[in-house]
Amino acid sequence: MAVTMTDHRGRPRGLSTAALLAPAVAAAFGGSVAWAADHPPAAVATPKPAVRAETGDDTAKKIQDRQRAVERIRKEIASLQFDVDQGKGAPSRPVRSRTDGTSAATPRGSAKPKPAPDARAKTAAPPIHATTGAS
């Protein structure tokens, strides 16, 4: 008795469709590549970076900006450390920055421990403006 499996008839049809389409797709892609190779991309106007000599003021400003950044980060660390020491999970108040860029104040009584002349602090050092030491 002859047995016919319909499955066997469907698969060859699908394969032959792909085989028919493949050369057309390849030709279209190849044509695109060939066209692109013959046509360099159009020049796009991009703004050139301004170039100027760096002056002493620029250098001083850069240093000043970095000093401010260092100071800001130190204050943030001090604030975080204080909160950790106080058993808090997060700073009670965010560290704020001043618009004039001077050393940003951390909240009073939060980041800076109160002066305790004879008590050795157990917190991290508070933010500072300058250092005295060996030269």
Binding site: D100, H129, T131
Partner: protein, 319 residues
Amino acid sequence: VTTHVTPELTVVFTAMACQVTLRVIDAGPEARQALVAARRAFERVEAACTRFDPGSALMRANADGEAWHQVPEECYLAVAGAARAHLETDGLFDPRVLDTLVALGYDRTLPFRSGLVRVTGTGSPARTVRDPWLPGLDPRMRSVQLGADRVDLGGIGKGLAVRLAARALAGAGRGHLIEAGGDCHVRGDGPDRDGWWIGVEDPSGGPEPVAVLRVLDGGCATSSLRIRSWHVNGRPVHHLIDPRTGDSAEGGLRSVTVLDDDPVRAEVWSKALLIAGRSRIAPLATDRGLAALWVDDDGRIDKSAEMASSVVWEANDAH
């Protein structure tokens, strides 16, 4: 009438073998001019008082110590200040250490910040000075007579430069900070209006300060063995010479910080107290009413009663 106020002006430059920072807050219209004048004060003091230039006023006066030499104002002020400091400290501050420093191999600028410095020299003290130093001073002619022993004005010169720069910046803004390799001067109540917060460097080299001081107006200086220490013929030495021994001070202290209205006096006493040593520093600071904080060879931090009110934070001890 509109008054233009610049929030802050900062100038950074190198002078006297250190980085100098001049900072004016709420700068007024004359601030830029004042900053230029302050910077020039450093340059003039350095030119007049350096020992590394044989043509400087100091070294010309050193070359023939028995003769009178007319010198620039900065050199005259430094010599006069050194003479006063010598008397005030009962000889603990003595600038007649130049030949000892040379004998220890410190006869040129040494690369202290690039690691351990090893030099050769005689390694022996030039001489032990016991007689008082009484230089000739003629203010009218602005002349000096240094005497037989060659003089080094390095430390007091920097204090003088800070003092002159502070005068130049006096009216520049709401306040100022002068930071010159360990010597500072501040004026006003600081950027946050709660004073200037000054960290005292760990003399052992740790990154965190050993204390933080709150200063409103005045000078601050630290003498420390942290940087200017080296080996001569394999022997460890440093730049703070004890005039009683003619050798590097071995008093058991690593650093001393002093606050004083006058940055020259702060500089002088920080050095004198370090030379005085661990056993004498507390009674001497108390006796002279000095605001002093010190770190000893064991890393212990201590301070005088005068200093206590200025300390806002203090480490448990130095490393």
